[in-house]
Each structure stands twice: as structure tokens, then as C-alpha cells.
């Protein structure tokens, strides 16, 4: 089944069941989230050796930890003995090893089985065969990305190329120095909506004039309904009256010094499928990660990243953060308004996309292709 045209102007969305069916969700977990590069953890949240986080990726719990050699590794969070969940905390620091709370099988930060009761009495057991399941890892933009596939696709082609395709230039993202910025604010949103509603919302701006009054004040061209993501390499210009990207148009913080002149006073937005959205403005970066938990529930973790000195000096970030926090709440409210209707018979055949939303059809085709239709 491919996206069919209703008219020249209006083309079909996915049918409602794609947003509610546990069976579709299970296929998405298996064929999208467990086989894509998934942005799991901010690297700085794993600062010291032994620091760990557990994250849900598809149907799996993944343990991400920093080793003594400063390298970051990721493992399936499953004890090789009889399957107990190894780490139940969301985050923490172990002194030197992960120990299963059931029978005390003990794994080092490299995931190797280093000790277990009676292990040395079982001469026929090679402990190297019982290390934790390894998950592929990459660090980029100050984040740890994991991939659960047995043969992961190329990070360069899947993640880096998506960023380049949107910004039109491989160097553009580097000028924001994401790895060198620090988290000034983090907000988690528990959204009662299917993850695809959130992606679709982020990709279009047809709704901007209606639900984002503050954003369209700062970015007047958004009132026309064409999202920055509709174009390649296009940054939406700040309004003449706006001094900065803030809720009231007041001045922002210090500009990231490596940001180029043509990037100044502009807003760029990027989607990296399946779960990352990035917004770039001259003085900060807003980085969203989605964790789909159920067909109708998605956790969105959002960081506002600033220059380290801005965070260290305890500068007032309120007006800066409030702009996109409001945008997020407005967007997620809209998504939550759609979710209950997805199972209505009135939406069984889906809805339509207007021309400024036509690029969403490509996302729908991608989802269909991945889950095998």
C-alpha cells in the first residue's frame, strides 16, 4: 500500500489504526527502534567511570556505562545466568562492577563476567562466553547513540547524512559545538500520544500560526505554515523587533562563538529518524529525544544546551527556556488531542495532508517500508 492522492492538493495520511494498534507498535519496535541508531544518553550524564543509565529502546532495556578507560559501552540489561534485570535504577554509579541482585553474578564495566559464586569450581565453563550482550555505540554531538541491530547500518549514512541533508552542509552543525555545550535545563514530557503524531507535528508548521503565538512573534515566516524542515539549508529569520530567541523577544544569552554570520539570528530545525529533533539558534540548542513506551504513550526528554560559562555563571535562562517549553506543551497538547480520535471510525481511513505538509508522506512511506508493507 502506498500513499494515495485524494486530489492534487490533498494527499492521504496513514490510517488511524497505525496510531493505536499494538501489533503495528510491536513491528515498529522491532523494525524501527531496534534496528536504527537511537540517541540514548547525553554523554555528560555519564561523566565518571562507573556512571550508568538504563534506557528503553524498542522492547529492550539497555544499560549504558562509562568504563575506566573513559570509553562508553552499552549492553542488554539482562543477567546471563537466569535473566534477572541487572540494573533496576534509571541512573547511578557503580564502584567497579555490575552485580546481579539475584545470585550475584558480577560483570565489569566492559560487560565481562568476572565473578560468580562457585564459578571457579566449574572447570568446564569459559566465563568469556557469559559476558553481557553487547550493543553498538557511537558518541556524536555530545550524545551516546546505540544500535541494537546485529549488523547496524552506517552511522554516517543514517544519522550524519540526515543532519547534512537538512542543513545542506556537513559543517553547519559543527559550528554549534553541541558536544562542548552544557545542559542549562532539562524537561521530560510524558505525552499520551503515538510517537508518529509527535514526529509529524515536529515536521510541519501548518499549525504554527494557530497554536504557537509566541514562536510566530519571533519567527514571523512561520505564520505562513512552511516549516524550516520544508526546505534544505533554510534558517527562519528572527523578527526585526526580536532581540533574541526568547518568550518575549528579549535578548538571549551569549552567542556560540563559532556560529557563522549567516547562521546568526536564524532558527534551524532537524529531524533524525526515528526519535531525535534538534533546534539550532545562535545562543543555544534545543535537543529532543523520544522514547516510545506504548502505542499511545511517548516520553520526550528535552535539553536546552548553552555555553558552559553561561551555565556556570548561573545566568537567568527562564525566558530563553520558556519559549520552547511553551511550544512543546502546545505541540504535545495538540498530539494528545489527536490520539483519542485515531481509533474513531471517523478516522479509520486517515486524514489528509495539505501542500505544506506533503513532505510528511515521505515519512509515512518510510515507516511503511520499515515495518514491511
Amino acid at each position: 500500500m502506498t500513499t494515495s492522492s485524494r486530489t492534487q492538493s490533498l494527499i492521504a495520511t496513514l490510517p488511524g489504526t497505525y496510531y493505536t494498534s499494538p501489533e503495528v507498535f510491536a513491528r515498529e519496535q522491532e523494525h524501527i527502534f531496534e534496528t536504527s541508531w537511537f540517541c540514548a544518553v547525553r554523554s555528560a550524564d555519564l561523566a565518571a567511570p562507573g556512571a550508568f543509565r538504563t534506557v528503553t529502546v524498542g522492547r529492550e532495556s539497555v544499560l549504558v556505562a562509562r568504563g575506566r578507560d573513559q570509553g562508553v559501552r552499552a549492553f542488554l540489561n539482562v543477567c546471563r545466568h537466569r535473566g534477572a534485570r541487572l540494573c533496576t535504577e534509571e541512573s547511578g554509579t557503580v564502584r567497579r562492577a555490575f552485580q546481579c541482585p539475584y545470585h550475584a553474578w558480577t560483570y565489569n564495566l566492559q560487560g565481562e563476567l568476572i565473578a560468580a559464586p562457585n564459578l571457579t569450581s566449574m572447570a568446564d565453563v569459559d566465563r568469556r562466553d557469559y559476558g553481557l550482550g553487547r550493543v553498538q555505540v557511537r558518541e556524536w554531538l555530545g550524545y551516546v547513540w546505540v544500535n541494537l541491530a546485529e549488523r547496524p547500518g552506517s552511522f554516517e549514512e543514517e544519522v550524519m547524512a540526515a543532519v547534512t541533508a537538512r542543513l545542506g552542509d556537513g559543517e553547519a552543525i559543527a559550528r554549534y559545538d553541541l558536544a562542548g555545550l552544557e545542559t542549562g535545563k532539562r524537561i521530560s514530557y510524558d505525552v499520551r500520544a503515538n510517537w508518529k503524531l509527535i514526529v509529524e507535528n515536529f515536521m510541519e508548521c501548518y499549525h504554527c500560526a494557530t497554536i504557537h503565538p509566541e514562536l510566530t512573534e519571533v519567527l514571523p515566516e512561520f505564520a505562513d505554515g512552511f516549516a524550516a524542515q520544508f526546505y534544505v539549508g533554510h534558517g527562519a529569520a528572527f523578527a526585526k523587533e526580536a532581540e533574541g530567541f526568547t518568550v518575549d523577544g528579549s535578548a538571549g544569552l551569549e552567542r556560540i562563538p563559532t556560529v557563522a554570520a549567516e547562521q546568526d539570528r536564524r532558527y534551524y530545525a532537524i529531524t533524525v529518524r526515528p526519535q531525535v529533533f534538534v533546534n539550532l539558534v545562535p545562543d543555544h540548542v534545543i535537543f529532543h529525544r523520544m522514547y516510545p513506551l506504548a502505542p499511545d504513550r511517548t516520553l520526550v526528554e528535552c535539553e536546552w544546551l548553552y555555553l558552559p560559562e553561561v551555565v556556570a555563571q548561573g545566568r537567568d535562562l527562564t525566558r530563553s527556556v520558556e519559549l520552547f517549553d511553551r511550544v512543546n506543551r502546545q505541540d504535545f497538547d495538540a498530539c494528545e488531542r489527536c490520539q483519542p480520535a485515531m481509533s474513531s471510525r471517523g478516522y479509520a481511513g486517515g486524514g489528509v495532508l495539505v501542500p505544506s505538509e506533503h513532505h510528511l508522506a515521505e515519512f509515512h512511506d518510510w515507516v511503511r517500508g520499515r515495518i514491511g508493507e
Binding site: R96, A97, Q99, A104, T106, I114, A115, A116, P117, N118, L119, T120, S121
Partner: protein, 120 residues
């Protein structure tokens, strides 16, 4: 006196486990000292060779009791009984051991092979 290994085979900070009955472990501390103790923790069957060497003590990898390499005493529970200490003799380039003839404090299941049944 039994030969263990060559000096060059046991760098500082490392352990060498000997498959004697019961097994014995020789540690070369960061300060350059050599010590030998029973390899099996007195609490449960864990190999202290896999533990963490800290100064003159080794911490059991399973439940964190720490044994003094000079005396064999455990610092905190759950291990209560000491491990035996053995004498290390260096001759030329080779490390040797003189095994203690005291009775070892082995945990219940260690070295007894498979036990049928059993309950928590």
C-alpha cells in the same frame, strides 16, 4: 616448597591463581610486595584472584568483605573466618610457595562438587 611462576609473569597489581586443592592465590601489590592466601572466600565459593587489590588487602568480588593479605582476617561481614596465609619465597627469577598446614576455612559448598537438591 612449590614453584608458582616466574617473577616476570606477575606484574604489580596482579594476581596468580594456583589450581591446588584448595586453590591458592599470590598477589603482587602496587608497592611491590608478594603475598599468598587461599583463593576461596570464606563466605561463599568466590575466587579472590578476581577480587580487587587495594594496598595490602583484597576485596572479595561477590559481597565486598576485604581480607588483609598479611593476616588473612576479613574486615567486615559477610565473611567472618580468615583465609589462610602462605609463605612466599623468591629464588632467582622464580616465585615459590610454602603452603600452610593449618585447616582451611572453606565455605560449605566449595570443592565438594555438585550438591543435589538444596533450598534457599
Amino acid at each position: 616448597m612449590i614453584p608458582v611462576c616466574r617473577l616476570a609473569d606477575l606484574p604489580r597489581g596482579e594476581a596468580f591463581r594456583l589450581d591446588t586443592k584448595p586453590p591458592v592465590v599470590v598477589f603482587h601489590t602496587e608497592d611491590g610486595e608478594f603475598y599468598a592466601i587461599d583463593d576461596t572466600c570464606t563466605h561463599q565459593d568466590a575466587s579472590l584472584a578476581e577480587g580487587w587489590l587495594e594496598g595490602c588487602a583484597v576485596e572479595c568480588p561477590l559481597h565486598a568483605s576485604k581480607f588483609d593479605l598479611r593476616t588473612g582476617q576479613a574486615d567486615v561481614p559477610p565473611a567472618r573466618l580468615p583465609v589462610r596465609t602462605h609463605q612466599v619465597v623468591i629464588e632467582g627469577e622464580t616465585i615459590h610457595l610454602v603452603l600452610s598446614d593449618a585447616v582451611p576455612n572453606l565455605p560449605f559448598a566449595a570443592g565438594r562438587g555438585p550438591v543435589a537438591g538444596g533450598a534457599t
